[in-house]
Symmetry: C2
Subunit: 149 residues, 2 copies
Amino acid sequence: MSKPSQTESQATPANGAAGTVKRKRTFAIGELAEMFEVTPRTIRFYEQEGLLSPERQGQRRIYHDKDRVRLKLTLRGKRLGFTLAEIREVVELYDAMPGGNTRQLHRMLEILAEKRADMEQRLEDIRLMQHELDDVETRCRAVLERLEP
Amino acid sequence: MSKPSQTESQATPANGAAGTVKRKRTFAIGELAEMFEVTPRTIRFYEQEGLLSPERQGQRRIYHDKDRVRLKLTLRGKRLGFTLAEIREVVELYDAMPGGNTRQLHRMLEILAEKRADMEQRLEDIRLMQHELDDVETRCRAVLERLEP
DNA sequence: GTTATGCTTGACGTTAACGTAAAGGGAATA
DNA sequence: TATTCCCTTTACGTTAACGTCAAGCATAAC
């Protein structure tokens, strides 16, 4: 595939040594980028699209663990073929949840149902694809068997 | 989603009535397009990209059942997030299979293994996503419970 | 001090996968 | 015969999701 279908490659934790107070770990954009094997540009782009809103210290962006999690979810959504707009829609509603009005909550349930149906369709597609892979491989090996003793 | 995640909506079989010889059914581009809920443009584009090679009668494209199947597989591949280039790579090798040399066959097995790994990653992503959906829905309903008696 | 590293904000470029409009052919139907 | 469909090719337009400079700031290392 063209997409980096990895999960998250833990970078070396620069702070938070054993025996120390579990200080809130933060990340620079480059660290986060390396973690997930994306470019800083990608992360800035996601921010511009309303998917992330990191803290600032002066100019610099400071990412907390919640940002890291959100990035992870975003990338997972991408691997599943969701557009950034779709992901943002969920994210925004999710942020508005505590204290969200009833209408928003119901809208959220609607979206959840849609996504769920989507996942089911994807599962079915994957199952079918796997069967085809099995099929092709079987035939492939059969031909090879006749060519190589 | 933006994508038409449907399977195939059987169009009315214009020929092949009961009791008739199972005449090879063919399709015009418009019929095929309607079947899969895509535009003719999309189908022509796939041909241009080497994914389809329909028969011609004069100018007109005539699609046989094998073309229909190939289109179906292509669209499934798309729903799974494969690029047209990736799909074509498999399709081309698949066409070259009977009579294909050993090297090609082994290359095919390689690709199959890759795709298989990809499917596994996708399954994992879907499982994780489903859990998150469950999670969010639970919390969503909890909040609603406190708002609506 | 200066060199290097890593960050910042523009801003224009690129690719995939089509969309859309123009101009025309041919057969069937009114 | 004229109109209506459905098809054809050509060609330029569009959108999403970044890539790729360029120019500049700040801090850490030498």
